[in-house]
């Protein structure tokens, strides 16, 4: 599979009717795994229609890779079925936890950046990869709070987990920017430290200000500072497929597609400059 700087969008229910009707052309599309797992009806029809034109990425939010509870084998059976059915290009989830004592928080909570957490995450990711017989693509999350016991740097923590688990990475540029602002680390240094060869694709999204912090709300166009960091990441890591996420204040599908094409144009320009 060629990992060139092609554009992509995330699939949203608001756009389902339109997605059923039109040809999106080549590129990528990302589906939130849990919105399609075990489903029929319109969601599955949309996924199969989009798959005719585009590569599909299954991006989970509930695997709880850092969670304390055992994995649910039924979840992984369903995921394997869905992945086979649509021949997903990548399957992934987040460097976070979202469950506790059998309950789901439906959020992506950060973990303390400790050696114990690295070992725990790496073991769980390896277990998940064994069940799926596939390398997982792990995304860095936005964070609003840090643990007193965190000892490792953000990039160091991610890198150690990726290496110990032999996993791939989804680099969410907006999340790097937001977390860097909120926790007080340098976003550019984070990009420098990430193992480029493990990055499979990028995420971009908008964020908003919430008091002194930034909120990763996916509710607006990609901001100038995030574009700047994205261009830096492309120059450092190389061109990769890029998915533009937009969840709240969702615009028309054409606006979303235009935003993702803009990302592609920027990446192509940076790649060309690097080649020259």
């Amino acid at each position: 599979m060629k990992l060139s700087p092609q554009h992509g969008i995330s699939l949203k229910a608001t756009h389902y009717e339109e997605l059923l009707q039109r040809n999106l052309g080549p590129g990528w599309a990302e589906a939130i795994t849990e919105n399609f797992l075990g489903r029929g009806g319109r969601p599955l029809a949309v996924l199969e229609r989009v798959r005719r034109d585009r590569e599909i990425i299954l991006h989970g939010v509930s695997m709880s890779l850092g969670g304390p509870d055992p994995f649910d084998p039924a979840y992984f059976r369903s995921l394997r079925e869905l992945r086979s059915r649509i021949e997903a290009a990548f399957v992934g989830d987040h460097l976070s936890f979202g469950t506790f004592d059998g309950h789901f928080g439906h959020d992506l909570w950060p973990l303390p950046r400790t050696e114990e957490a690295v070992r725990h995450l790496a073991a769980r990711i390896r277990q998940a990869q064994d069940m799926l017989e596939e390398q997982l693509v792990i995304e860095n999350v936005s964070a609003y709070v840090d643990y007193a016991q965190s000892r490792l740097g953000e990039a160091e923590f991610m890198t150690l987990v990726l290496q110990e688990a032999d996993a791939a990475m989804l680099l969410d540029v907006n999340n790097v920017f937001v977390s860097a602002h909120n926790l007080g680390f340098d976003a550019w240094s984070y990009i420098d430290a990430i193992p480029a060869e493990r990055v499979r694709y990028f995420h971009l999204a908008g964020h908003s200000e919430m008091g002194p912090l930034l909120l990763d709300d996916h509710g607006s166009a990609v901001g100038d500072a995030t574009w700047e960091l994205y261009e830096y990441a492309v120059a450092r890591i190389g061109g990769r497929p890029t998915i533009v996420e937009w969840d709240s204040n969702l615009p028309a599908l054409d606006r979303l597609l235009a935003e993702s094409e803009h990302a592609c144009d920027r990446a192509n320009r940076i790649s060309a400059e690097a080649a020259a």
């Binding site: 029929g40 303390p112 840090d146 008091g211």
Partner: protein, 249 residues
């Protein structure tokens, strides 16, 4: 402090307001915002996201209660029933039971809305109906397989009215059998009379055709009506398989 202790602290921080002091000790803030203020972001997202999900699943119930009362109901429900499914859409699974104990007058509407959600989320029925493979002389012993989206609930007239079914005659019984089903991408429901509800419940419970239709045999015109029912079940996609003894599908 172990990883599990840290995770438990975050779980308690999002579930309880304010964050318990012993949980707060696990986190750092800075001069811009202390740990308590930062954890409040996660807590707000936890409750807002889940109340919103319940609002999406129960829009008519929310309308009946009004925003504040519905939010109070949801928060009370979530304190008793934290999510136990990986998909947020299944969050309301126990709300019909929960509301039946507190506001029984709304339980029927809650059941009907939840049945709609389950019908919407269900996997597709197998594409092939095997009815044509059944030999006529074995039909009486055949059993039906039903579409995964098919739901059977008993509701009250108020629930049907809330779905825009119009005013119900005063003589309508307080418990009305309803079937909820998905055709194409749309979910619909139909109120059943007692005989069809009994037949459908028997068939879904695994009874064979002869047992399902037995009640109709004694009535004048019963046979015609029984086969009319079956034709309707096929036409509306309730039935997705006919399992005949000796026929391997």
């Amino acid at each position: 402090m172990s990883l599990r202790q840290a995770q438990r602290a975050l779980w308690r921080a999002v579930r309880f307001d304010p964050t318990p002091d012993d949980a707060l000790d696990f986190f750092d803030g800075d001069a811009r915002l202390d740990a308590s203020g930062r954890l409040a972001i996660y807590r707000r997202m936890y409750w807002l996201r889940q109340v919103h999900a319940l609002d999406q699943a129960f829009p008519r119930l929310a309308e009946q209660l009004g925003e504040q009362a519905f939010t109070r109901l949801c928060c009370s429900y979530l304190r008793h029933y934290p999510s136990s499914h990986h998909a947020l859409e299944y969050l309301g699974a126990s709300l019909p039971h929960f509301i039946a104990q507190r506001q029984p007058e709304l339980a029927g509407l809650c059941r009907l809305e939840w049945a709609h959600t389950l019908a919407l989320l269900a996997p597709d029925a197998p594409a092939k109906c095997t009815a044509s493979e059944a030999r006529p002389d074995s039909f009486a012993s055949a059993r039906f397989g039903f579409a995964p989206s098919l739901q059977r609930v008993d509701v009250d007239a108020f629930a049907l009215q809330a779905f825009g079914a119009g005013p119900q005659p005063a003589s309508r019984p307080t418990s009305i059998p309803v079937v909820v089903f998905r055709r194409g991408f749309a979910v619909r429901h139909v109120a059943l009379d007692e005989s069809e509800a009994r037949a459908l419940d028997l068939a879904r419970g695994g009874a064979c055709v002869a047992e399902v239709l037995e009640d109709f045999a004694a009535d004048a015109g019963g046979i015609e009506r029984a086969f009319g029912l079956l034709r309707g079940w096929f036409a509306r996609g309730y039935i997705c398989a006919v399992e005949v003894p000796g026929v391997i599908e």
